[in-house]
């Protein structure tokens, strides 16, 4: 492996002996995991803005009950591509490829990922695949939802768009698999001497679990996509009932990946939160092993809950009951994590700045999504709520209130390390408040819409829901506006922000032991493992137990 790395660095054109990363590196086929991590984060954030733009058009259309802004086919195309972009081009690559690439080698004291070239290949699949997906708007965007259920996806009028969609999903899935292989090998074989699995930061546990899920589940999605592609383009009948195919089989294959995909999107964010809370609360993480094992447990359970997306689709009763029990059980390891985070806050010295605000916002919002998830796990409850706005509210609380809040927390926390400059705290708080208010205004009322009878994926709806939809749309626009303080803050601080010291937060994980931004080889000398990742805090015996629980620590 060292051989590989040496050979690669020998071929790097811009100043091989330099202590800094040349800006041109970021636009090249770089094999430096930090460059690739930042390439991922910036690229995916660009896609996030595009996906957000589509969301804004969707909410503008839904501000009135009639189809009056875009045509109904374009509307369906917008929400299909919105979801696809947000999942496959934003959250999945940002949390695994972005934060995973940047942080995992630094956290385990490695010089790079195990397979640097593979890493670069995995990243460079993404921009063309994303461009391909977006190009579908010129041919009639895929309009069958990101789930692309047959027969609709086979009979669709947007044949070309649907084919483009399938092809880009296969490409993005491939990228995801390549990245996951790299993470597993890196975490297993490249930890520095003295770091065993249980002294690894929890983020690495989370990435390991998520990568395991990607490796098991993504090939199944690829299979489903290939079969669907044949049905669409070659007239085969895998899923087409006209020729004896079974559309329900597609749903099984699709959700076998797409439910675990939710955990691929949320587990790394759990990891981010487990890193940020201790640093900014000045306390050890509460229940390290419980959090680590709960990631693994969620990963295993996450593989056997997929049919809860199909409670109304024609699954046999016994299957529904099995999947209901498995689904409800996911609440247990998830609860362990949430309670452990809360216990981490308890008795700390909370530095209420942007990273911690977003991290706490994550816990708060994710709990809402988790609780509605428990309700939806119950078969009878789900039968009423399936495919309604309640579902839309639920998964946005998990994926926006959860994942995106967590990603923002990560941005604020690691920006000084990545860029070497501090972000502006005031605009960070503005960003947080606008995001928090906009998000809740947009998605909280959707629970009510779904319960009352508004189905999802509709461009026109019963006028009785008009007022609530206006509130949602106002929330969505606040959410759209909330992006600007962040964008300007990040762009300005990147060049003009105050210089960051090596360890601005007094954190203990290894990435903070090198310079900000890190040396191209991560550490000039050898990294030193001085403490565990979470050894914060004044020893217990210096506190009276009574004062700890009464909160009279001053």
């Amino acid at each position: 492996m060292t051989q590989v790395i040496e050979r690669i660095s020998a071929t790097q054109p811009p100043e091989p002996s330099s202590d800094t990363t040349h800006w041109r590196e970021y636009f090249s086929f770089s094999t430096d995991h930090k460059v690739i991590g930042i390439q991922y984060l910036v690229t995916t954030f660009g896609f996030y803005l595009l996906g957000g733009l589509m969301a804004s058009v969707i909410r503008a259309e839904l501000a009135t009950p009639d189809t009056d802004l875009v045509s109904s086919d374009l509307y369906n195309g917008l929400f299909t591509v919105h979801a696809t972009v947000m999942i496959f081009l934003w959250i999945v690559p940002a949390v695994t490829g972005g934060f995973g690439n940047y942080l995992v080698p630094l956290m385990i004291g490695a010089r790079d990922m195990a397979f640097p070239k593979l890493n670069a290949v995995a990243f460079w699949i993404i921009p063309p695949a994303g461009a391909l997906l977006l190009s579908s708007f010129f041919f009639g965007a895929p309009s069958t939802g990101w789930t692309a259920y047959p027969p609709l996806s086979i009979l669709t009028d947007q044949h070309v768009g649907q084919a483009i969609w399938i092809f880009s999903i296969i490409l993005l899935g491939t990228s995801s698999i390549l990245a996951a292989v790299n993470f597993v090998v890196t975490i297993f074989s490249m930890r520095m001497p003295g770091m065993d699995f249980f002294s690894m930061p929890l983020f690495c546990w989370a990435i390991l679990s998520a990568s395991g899920l990607v490796l098991i589940a993504t090939p199944v999605l690829a299979g489903a996509m290939i079969l669907l592609g044949f049905d669409l383009l070659a007239g085969t009948n895998f899923f087409n009932p006209t020729g004896g195919g079974d559309p329900v089989v597609y749903q099984h294959l699709f959700w076998f990946y797409s439910h675990p995909a939710v955990y691929v999107m949320i587990l790394p964010v759990f990891g981010i939160i487990s890193e940020i809370l201790p640093v900014h609360s000045r306390k050890p993480i509460f229940g390290y092993k419980a959090i680590a094992f709960s990631s693994v447990f969620i990963c295993i359970l996450g593989l056997v809950v997929w049919a809860h997306h199909m409670f109304t689709s024609g699954t046999p009763d016994w299957l529904r009951i099995f999947f209901m029990i498995a689904t409800l059980l996911v609440a247990v390891p998830t609860g362990i994590k949430v309670f452990s985070w809360l216990a981490t806050l308890w008795g700390g010295k909370l530095r209420l700045e942007s990273p911690l605000l977003f991290a706490i916002g994550f816990v708060s919002m994710f709990v809402v999504g988790g609780l509605s998830g428990v309700m939806l796990g119950s078969v009878p409850v789900d039968i009423h709520l399936h495919d309604t706005y309640f579902i839309v509210a639920h998964f946005h609380y998990v994926l926006f209130g959860g994942s995106v809040f967590g990603i923002y927390a990560g941005f604020y926390h690691w920006f000084p390390k990545m860029v070497g400059r501090m972000l502006n705290e005031f605009w960070g708080k503005v960003h947080f408040v606008l995001t928090f208010v906009g998000f809740n205004l947009c998605f909280l009322p959707m629970h009510l819409l779904g319960l009352q009878g508004m189905p999802r994926r509709v461009a026109q709806y019963d006028p009785q829901f008009a007022n609530i939809n206006v509130i949602c749309s106002i929330g969505a626009f606040i959410l759209a506006i909330s992006t600007f303080p962040f964008l300007f803050n990040a762009a300005w601080s990147w060049f003009y922000g105050p210089k960051a010291v090596d360890n601005p937060w007094n954190a203990l994980t290894l990435e903070w032991t090198t310079s900000s931004p890190p040396h191209p080889h991560n550490w000039i000398g050898e990294p030193v493992l001085a403490t565990g990742p979470y050894d914060y805090g004044v020893p217990m015996d210096e506190f009276e137990e009574e004062s700890m629980f009464t909160g009279t620590i001053d």
């Binding site: 006209t242 329900v248 309670f339 909370l350 409850v381 495919d387 009878g453 509709v458």
Partner: protein
Amino acid sequence: MKIQKIIQITAVFSLIIAASLWYSQNHGLLPVQAAEEAVLYDNLFNALIAIVTAIFLLVQGFIIYSMIRFRRRKGDDTDGIALHDNFVLEIVWTAIPTILVMWVGIYSFDVYTSMKGTDFMSMPMAHHHSPISAEQIANLAMPAAMADTLPSQPEIDSQQAPSGQLVADSSLPLVIDVSAMRYAWIFTYPGTEIVTSEMHVPVGRKVKLNLNAQDVNHAFWVPQFRLKQDTIPGITTNMEFTPNKLGEYPIICAELCGGYHGGMRTTITVQTPTEYDSWLKEEAEVASNSPQTLAFRQVLKDPTQMSDREFLTEQAQAMRIDKDLPTEIHDHIDRMNHHHMHEMASYLTSATSTN
């Protein structure tokens, strides 16, 4: 001091529980209950609301309290307590959620079996896979599973019972065949000649639906009944409910089925048995000479004699669809050919001849 703490904590917990219980009975989140199943559903839903509200208040309250209580004071650069874990606490917060979700699971199972809103144990799989001709494969726009497996010659008369016969024995479930197609619902009352686009049912009598889709997946949803069932081409799905409140409720398509998905809705009218009887008689009478039924019959007799546009336009009119819709339907028609019409006719045949 210690007793004071215990009292305070007990008071907070009691308040949270009281608030959750109150909210679970007064949330007003659900629409009117119009079926017996909705009553069962709402009890389960309210129980879940009580649980999630309590957890929500506990967690959010804890967060807000911690943010105030444990915020870093200016100039304080010290750390918090080195509290790594607490075995008892971790056992408690593993055990309580486990017990809670198990209880939710058992209660849900119980409600599910009592509702029996859908019964897939008896799902017929026999006519699920059937080979079709190359010609049909070439025309992917319409499914032929029904057409293939049912007799192509209409045998209406021999199958039919006198209209209104099913009303007589109200202890038996009322069977209605539901067919979903873009973007309309067609309801056939077996044993009668009635084919409608709006569903009428008598209050208090169990209704059993056999659902099928003609083109793509749809889903039959009545929010006031709290029931939903996907309709899948090539598979017959079932749904049962007992309406218990007079009124008119929406039937909504809940599964994305194309551009006009949001407009695919109709109504179900829950009537008194007498009203229902007269509706049934009226419809049966009308059925024999209404343009709607004539259109259906004409199609049944010889669908190849009609142009596609003629056929679907008439059908659209018969189904009293909005004036806006025909443009969409016309677009649809233009992409179809006679072959599909043949299948459509077969479907209509089957719709009137089954049972």
